[in-house]
Each structure stands twice: as C-alpha cells, then as structure tokens.
C-alpha cells in the first residue's frame, strides 16, 4: 500500500504524465468530464463525470480509413492504430465494470483493432466512491464501489490518497511513479473506509431494485408487455441516456467528403434515434416504443443471453441524472415489479 498527500496530487499526475498520456476527471465550463492532463489541470473529485470513460477506448468519433482518387485510381489508407501509452485516473467501480461489458463486444473475435490497442495501452487507476449518491445502484449488479477492480485501486481518506496496485500493469505504473509515493501500512484505514462505503451502499434508495425475471430467457415474457407503452410514452428519442451510458456500444460508420477525398469514420449511435439501423426499406423499429424497448431489452435480456448472463448495465445512475424527462432503467425495472422494498 502506498499513499500520497491530497495536496501533492499534482506531483503524482506530473509523474504519470511524464511517460504517458494521463486522463482524469476535470471540470470544464461547469461540467466534470475525463480530460487529458496538462500541467496545472485540476482533478475534480465529484462522484460522476457526465460522460463515462468509455471514450478512452471507444471514442465518440474516430477515423478509420480514408480514400483518395488520383489518376483514376482509388488509394485506400487505413488510419493508424493508436500506440500511445495512456493512464486513466479516477475511474469509479461501475465504470471499471463497464469495461468488461465493452470487452465482450469489441474483443470477441474478430477483435476491434482500434479498441484492442487502446485498451492494451491503457492502465486504469480506479477510485473508490467515498460518497455514493441517491442515483447509484451498482450493487444491484454485484459491483462493490468500495473495492474497484482495476489495475490500481485508490481510496481518498482524510487528507490522503491510498494507492494499491492490483495487476501487473498496476505494479508497473506504481514503480514508475514510486518516487512521489510513500510506502505505508494502512490496511486498517482502508478497511474502515470500505466498511463505511458498504454501509452507505446498503441503504441507498435504489439498492432495493431486483433483477428477478430479467435474464437471457426473458424475451417472450417481456417483449409484448403492456408496460412498454406507458414507459416509452414520454421518451423524446434523444440520445442523452445512450451517450452518457458507460456500456452502450452501438456505432455508425459514415463517410465525410473532405474535398480532396473521403474520410470514413465511426461514431457513437443511439438506438433511441429514429434513423438507427436505417436501411433502404426504412427502419426496422418505426415507433419510439420499439426503440425504447430495444434499449432496455438489450441491456437486460439480449446482452445476458449472448454473454453468459452478464447484464449490460452497471448501475452508474448517469441516465437517472441526465434523462431530460427522468425516465431511466431503474424506473423500467420497477415498472416490471422489480423492487424488493
């Protein structure tokens, strides 16, 4: 176990960013988002970033290939696979868990080479949630915010940050920044913090959500349920939930005419959009009810069906906070009777 004074965090960030790119939660124009560290950047200790850290590995838009026409021939140039070493600091347990969900999609064969490279090049430093909020329900998905499972786990207690490497990558990073850390036997302090967090988590208002009835076999039971109509009635069809969600992984591939060629890029897409998976004949889900149902069925039924029962929700609660009309996965689960309280 290592420690560093909170007041000396900038030394730590300086040390990390000396050898690689560091991303961490930073408040810009009033909002907390993962941002690249530059000297002077201040860490924001708010619980949640607006966007999840998923665009560390799966950016909102990324160029994949370009085409250029010269002398009647088309030249195809794939964009280069990123090689920068990165560290992302301050990832919460739920977001760490979301990487497992994304890995299922992007690393299963054929693996996505852009995602794979970014994922392998990145060391994840997680931070325990000392003050979980009312919208959090990670415990429902078996995630323990007091004990994030990343390359390095950290805890803010009092005036100190406690640092513990959990993987080889974590050890390596620890070694690289050892000069600014202090070795200290602080298991007692950290254990006490964990116990405190666990107690708060137990009593969170959404902790009573129950996933009974939601699994890979629930398609028939849930698909034609009358609840969907009421739940989706006020959905605006925007993509706020999708884009703040750490596990949503749908994308579109588009071409952009640069004037001197075509740049093909991929970008996040949202199943809530009315042009999602638009085909020549139209869209397969013409109503908002169908699109709304798709999003939740995917997270709670189809994804577990294809991924050994893993849900594609980690209970981060971002959608609870950000949906313009306050409709969210917690309300969906409850509407189907999933509340133990």
């Amino acid at each position: 176990m290592y420690t560093i004074e909170k007041s000396k965090l900038s030394d730590l960030f300086g040390a990390i960013s000396a050898s690689c790119e560091l991303y961490l939660p930073v408040k810009k124009a009033g909002q907390n988002n993962f941002t690249k560290y530059e000297a002077g950047t201040e860490y924001c200790d708010e619980l949640k970033t607006v966007k999840s850290p998923k665009d560390m590995f799966f950016p909102q838009s990324e160029n994949i290939v370009s085409f250029e026409k010269t002398d009647g021939k088309i030249k195809v140039t794939p964009d280069t696979i990123p090689t920068e070493k990165t560290v992302v600091f301050g990832v919460r347990a739920c977001d760490v868990a979301s990487f497992d969900v994304l890995d299922r999609v992007f690393l299963s064969e054929p693996a996505d080479s852009f995602y794979k490279a970014r994922r392998e090049n990145c060391t994840v430093v997680a931070t325990a949630c000392s003050e979980p909020e009312e919208s959090c329900f990670c415990s429902v998905f078996g995630i323990d915010p007091s004990e994030p499972k990343a390359d390095v786990a950290t805890w803010f207690v009092g005036e100190k940050l406690y640092w513990k490497a959990l993987t080889e990558k974590g050890e390596e990073l620890t070694k690289a920044v050892a000069s600014v850390l202090t070795e200290e036997n602080a298991d007692g302090t950290v254990e006490a913090e964990k116990a405190k967090i666990k107690e708060i988590v137990k009593n969170l208002p959404l902790a009573s959500l129950s996933l009974d009835g939601w699994d890979g076999d629930a398609t028939e039971a849930k698909f034609d349920a009358p609840e969907w109509e009421k739940l989706s009635a006020s959905c605006l069809g925007c993509g706020a939930c999708t884009f703040v969600c750490p596990t949503c992984q749908c994308y579109d591939i588009r071409d952009y005419d640069t004037g001197h060629g075509i740049q093909r890029y991929r970008c996040w897409d949202s199943c809530m959009y009315n042009d999602f998976t638009m085909m020549a004949h139209g869209t397969p889900r013409p109503s908002q009810l169908q699109r709304f149902r798709q999003r939740f069925m995917h997270k709670l039924v189809y994804f577990p069906a294809n991924n050994d029962g893993m849900y594609s929700c980690v209970g981060c609660g971002r959608c609870v906070n950000k949906c313009p009309i306050s409709m969210n996965i917690a309300k969906v689960i409850k509407a189907f009777g999933g509340d133990k309280s």
């Binding site: 004037g259 139209g282 013409p286």
Partner: protein, 662 residues
C-alpha cells in the same frame, strides 16, 4: 451516374488569350461523370453546336457543361442544342469563364486555374441535374374586371375590342365611378360626363362585355388562366329587364330622408333611386335599408306607379359562377376621412367642404343646379379658401405619407372655373408645393395665377373658425412672406387625400395579390412590370395601384388590357419548370413557406402519406407550378428542407460550394 460532356469555348481570343483552354479540357477529364471534353473556337456557332450534338450522340451523353460566356448570353442557345440532340434542355449548365474569368484576369495561370474551378462547379451541379419538363395549362378566354370606373371601363373596352369576353363587376348600381361625379376635367376643362358617358354606353352595348352592377366578387379560386370566381349579384328589388328607367318611382318614393351618395350627401334621394340621369344600366334600385316596405311591410307606392311591373320586393341575392383567364383590379379610390382634421371645422360648419363636394356644387346636375352657393345659407360667396394637402404628404397617424397627385391640378381647375364664372369671388389657395408635372399642366396652373389672379399662398392653414357674422376665419402662415395671416372667407374647400377604396384588402387577399402599407396594390416590378400584380394573371388598372389622374389611368388601363390580351391570346401557358417542390414526407405543414411566397403559389392540403409503412393524414404544402416563379424564398423559410427548388436544389448549390472549395 451522369455521362457528362464538357465543351470549352475559346470565344476566339476572348477566352483563349487568357485561359489555357487545352489545360481546362485536360483538368476536367478526371472529374466524376465526365466522359468527354473538348475545346473549340466558337461553341455558339453552327459548327460548335453541331460538335456538341455529335458528341452527345457518339458518347451517349446525359448532361453537358459548356465553359463559355455568361449563361445570360447563351444558356438558351445551348439548351436548344441539347434538345436537338435529344437530351433534356435542363441538363445543360454553363461555366462562365469569359465575363467572370478571362475578361477580368490578366495572369494566364491564375485565370486557367479559376476556369477549371468554375468548370468543376458546373460539372458537380450537372451531376445532380434532373430532366425538367415545363408544365402546360389551358387558358379560359374570358377576363374579369373588378371595378367599373373609367379604369375598368377602358380596360374592358380594349379587351373586348380585341375579341375577348369581359365581365365587369361593379359594387354600386351604375358603372362610371368617381369620374361620373366630376364636373369638368383638367387641363382642358371639358365636361367629364360628356367624355365618360359615351364610354359607359359603349361598354353596356358591347357584345363582348357583360356588366354585373350592384354586384361584388365573393370568392376567387384557381390561378392564372384558370380562375374560378363567384360573383354575388345583390338584389336590386327591381327587374333589370323590365325597368325602363322612366324614374317615376324615384320621384314618388315617400322615404326621402337619406342622403344622395352621388351628390356627396349634399341633398337627398328616395329609397328607390337611379344614381344619376346617365346611369348605366339606367335601372332603378331599391335601398332596402331605407324603404318603408322593408321596414314596415306597408307602402309599396313604387310598385303601384311602375307601369312596367318591374318592382320585385321578393328578389334575392344571386351567386354567379364564372371562369376567367385573367383578372384586372380596377377598384379605384375614395376620399380619405377628413373628419380627423377637425381644425378645419369640416364636421361643424357646412361651408367647409371637400373638393369632390365642390365638384357636385359646381355641376349642373348637382344639389345647387350648378350655382356656387354657401351650403349654410344658400348665399353667394365673396371669398373662397382652398386648402391643399389635407392628409396627403402627412407622416402622422391621421394622414397619408404619399402625395395624392391630382389635388394641385383640380384645385387650379376649381379656382379657374370659379374666377371665370364669378369674377367677383376672391380665391385663395394654401399650398405646400404646387406639383404640375404633366402635359400642359404647368401652363394650366400658370393661367390660374396669371390670367385669373388666383391668390396662391405658400403655407399651411392651422385653424378655421366661425365668426359672429357667420363667416369663417382662416388662420394660416405665409411662408414666403414669413407672416401669420388671418383671412375672412365664406367657404373653405379641402383637398382631401385620396386612398384605395374600402374593400380592396378583401379583394387583394382573395387574389393573393399583395398590398403595400397604404393599401395600394403592389406591382410585380415597380419599373418593368407596373401593370401586373406579382400574382400571375392579376393585372392592375387605375388608382388601386397608386394615385393618378384620368389620362394616366386610361393609359394604364390600356396597358393592363394589352397584358390581358397577350395572356388570353395563348391557348396554353407554358410554366417555368424551375419551380419549388415540397417533399411530402418531410413537410410539417407549418405555413412558413406560404408566408414568404410573393405569388400565392403555395396552399395546403390534408393528405394521407405513407411514411415507411406508417400511414397518416398530414397537412402538406402544395405548390401550384403555374404560379411559382422559382425565386426560392420558401426553400430557406422551410426549416426541414422539405421545400426545394428544381434547377437550383439544395444539393446542387452545395455541390457547387464543395467543388469551389476543393
């Protein structure tokens, strides 16, 4: 994908001296869609056109780009060339490499580079061109004239003489309009009735003209060449075919309390009346608001005295439906409300009158049988004051910002007539400016001043009030002498501003013709199309378009008639194919486009659409391509881009932008 041919013209040395045409040809060969490119000395020549035709055939071209002079010069030429070769004429685009390039640049490299870019933009556009077909619509060979004053009568006569049917709709009981009320006309001082009534009779007797007097236009639907109009023929309660115009009923009618509009209410008429002796048609009409039979159910005297049996108390309003190819608006004017100018005592003193009232007083058929008398005591006046610009050139809320144009001249006329007939009467005229731009107008005015000693005073009248002796005092300023004047007079005549007739707003909205802030109808172009309304098929005649005197009105009426004849002479109208067209799946029916359309070409229909399997009834914009002129205002007003313009589509223009910014 199009198969595009690019033809680069040398224009002798006009282009070739500054633009390396061979390089342009080489550069465009790699552009998308281009499968043929060639330069030639004179593309517009017979040989050049043949070269294009041959290339179209040989290379199976679907679109062509001509890099040459301005499209304003030869676009039509090359469209015809394309048509001759069997491709749609709208598959031609011109890159203007002469006026916009070779003629203004000296550096050959620079000019060549620009020519290539302009050619590329034209190629990008042609790639998105679609064949366009001009539409056709039939023309109903009948015209409608709204308003039966001198403007309407003149237009009707001219159109009728050209051999077309014309209907005149006039809301009062006779045609003739304001001119019939006038005594004499400037600058010749001939009698208005003497020159007008023959025209009225001619109109009534013309085999091609139908008169609908005491009638109003109820609704107008349709568009140029195909207007469907409903005309309401108001009940006269007199059988037009039986009435002989003997006027016995009008003298016997016991209800005589109401004013006589023809004499500006300076005397009274019966409830059954003929507006004036030379009325056309010379048929009585019963004013049901005044008739005792309608009020009490009794009386019926007129019915008893009518030997022709023409009185029909049970007559009903009648709706006539007719189709027209063209409509002329000739709704004329009215005297604006002078009661708002109370400093002149118009509402309080009977000797303060408007100029039109003076016309009636001076007229032999008027309330005083043509003798100039004070209306207060029927005595001969010694002094008369004329006040100019009452309400004209007045930027305040009660006035009109414009010049009424006719007042200076008719005041000079009045002054002269009075001095001629009654040399003992002193005439004073207060004016801001005397405006006499017209043939023999200034001479006329100078005669009033020099020969008839009319006292013209530059200055405005501030106030008029009654003296103890019953005469009026006029308080004014003489601007030239820079002094205040107190003038005692017997009569004050106000040159009230003229304004478009009441009801013109309703007519304009029925016709979707636009009106300006003063309610004058707007012309399609203030200089080049002054007798056409922006709405195709609607023409303007007389004062409804702006203040004017009789000769101007008559000439405009003739001009409008020629435009109508030009339209009716066609069997079919070919419509501009570059019109706006809405994408039904994207249209919201929000009405933004309709509001900016200067031609009233857009309306809305409730229509079922099939939006990818979802069927629903939506409110959709519909463009009448016979009316649309292709300006594109609607395309930008439309937020969703549902409205697009053929020939200049969003995609085409953006493709040009892209090509230029490459």
């Amino acid at each position: 994908m199009q198969r595009i041919g690019v033809f680069v013209c040398w224009c002798g040395s006009n282009i070739a001296a500054t633009v390396d045409v061979a390089k342009v040809v080489e550069s465009v060969k790699g552009e998308p869609g281009v499968c043929f490119a060639q330069d030639y000395q004179y593309m517009c020549s017979e040989a050049g056109q043949q070269l294009i035709i041959n290339a179209i055939h040989e290379h199976k071209l679907t679109g062509i780009v001509v890099c040459s002079c301005s499209p304003r010069m030869h676009e039509a030429t090359f469209r015809k060339t394309a048509e001759k070769a069997g491709i749609n004429p709208y598959m031609v685009e011109i890159a203007n490499i002469r006026e916009h390039c070779s003629w203004i640049h000296k550096d050959k490299d620079e000019a060549t580079e620009k020519a290539v870019i302009l050619a590329r933009a034209a190629i990008a556009k042609v790639n998105l061109n679609a064949p366009l077909q001009p539409g056709e619509s039939a023309v109903t060979k009948r015209a409608l004239i709204i308003g039966g004053g001198i403007a309407g009568i003149q237009s009707a006569l001219d159109i009728a003489d050209a051999g077309y049917k014309v209907d005149i709709v006039e809301r009062s009981a006779t045609i003739g309009g304001k001119m019939a009320q006038l005594d004499k006309t400037f600058p010749t001082l001939d009698c208005a009735a003497c020159i007008l009534t023959p025209k009225m009779v001619e109109a009534a007797q013309h085999p091609n003209i139908t008169l609908y007097t005491y009638s109003e236009v109820e609704s107008v639907k349709g568009f140029v060449g195909n207007f469907d109009v409903k005309i309401k023929k108001k009940a006269r309660f007199v059988d037009e075919n039986k009435c002989t115009g003997c006027a016995v009923c009008t003298t016997k009618c016991p209800s005589r309390k109401g004013g006589n509009e023809f004499n500006c209410n300076l005397d009274n008429r019966g409830a059954v009346y003929i507006p004036f002796a030379q009325a056309v048609p010379n048929v009585a009409v019963i004013d049901s608001t005044r008739c005792l039979h309608f009020k009490t159910g009794k009386c019926g005297l007129c019915e008893k005295v009518c030997s022709a049996g023409a009185i029909k108390f049970d007559q009903q309003d009648e709706i006539i439906e007719e189709k027209y190819g063209a409509i002329v608006v000739a709704t004329g004017f009215q005297i604006s409300d002078v009661t708002k100018f109370d400093e002149f005592q118009y509402t309080k003193h009977p000797d303060v009158i408007t100029s039109l009232e003076l016309e009636r007083i001076m007229n032999a058929a008027g309330p005083t049988k043509g003798t100039l008398l004070r209306m207060s005591n029927k005595e001969h006046p010694k002094d008369i004051v004329f006040v100019q610009c009452v309400g004209s050139r007045d930027n305040t809320a009660r006035g009109k910002c414009y010049c009424s144009k006719i007042c200076c001249m008719y005041t000079a006329k009045h002054a002269m007539l009075i001095r001629e007939k009654y040399p003992d009467v002193n005439v004073h005229v207060f004016y801001i400016d005397v405006r006499t731009p017209g043939k023999n107008f200034d001479e006329f005015y100078r005669r009033a001043v020099e020969q008839y000693n009319v006292d013209y005073i530059k200055g405005m009248v501030g106030k008029v009030y009654e003296n103890e002796n019953g005469r009026l005092t006029v308080q004014a300023v003489d601007l030239l002498a820079d002094r205040r004047i107190m003038l005692e007079t017997d009569m004050v005549v106000l040159a009230a501003a003229i304004e478009p007739s009441s009801g013109v707003k309703d007519i304009a909205s029925m016709l979707t013709a636009s009106i300006d802030t003063n309610n004058f109808l707007t012309e399609a172009h203030p200089k080049l199309r002054p007798v056409e309304s922006p709405t195709a098929g609607v023409f303007l005649s007389g004062v409804c378009q702006g203040p004017k005197d009789i000769p101007e009105t008559v000439s405009q009426a003739g001009a409008a008639a020629v435009k109508v004849v030009g339209l009716l002479a066609k069997d079919k109208l070919v419509t501009n194919p570059c019109t706006a067209t809405p994408n039904e799946l994207m249209c919201n029916g929000c009405s933004s486009c309709e509001r900016v359309c200067p031609y009233g070409a857009i309306d809305y229909v409730e229509k079922e659409v099939n939006d990818h399997g979802k069927r629903e009834v939506r409110r959709l914009a519909r463009v009448n391509s016979a009316l649309c002129q292709g300006c594109g205002a609607c395309t930008v007003a439309c937020p969703s881009g549902a409205m697009d313009l053929k020939g200049f589509s969003n995609r085409q223009i953006m493709a040009e932008v892209d090509a230029i910014c490459k």
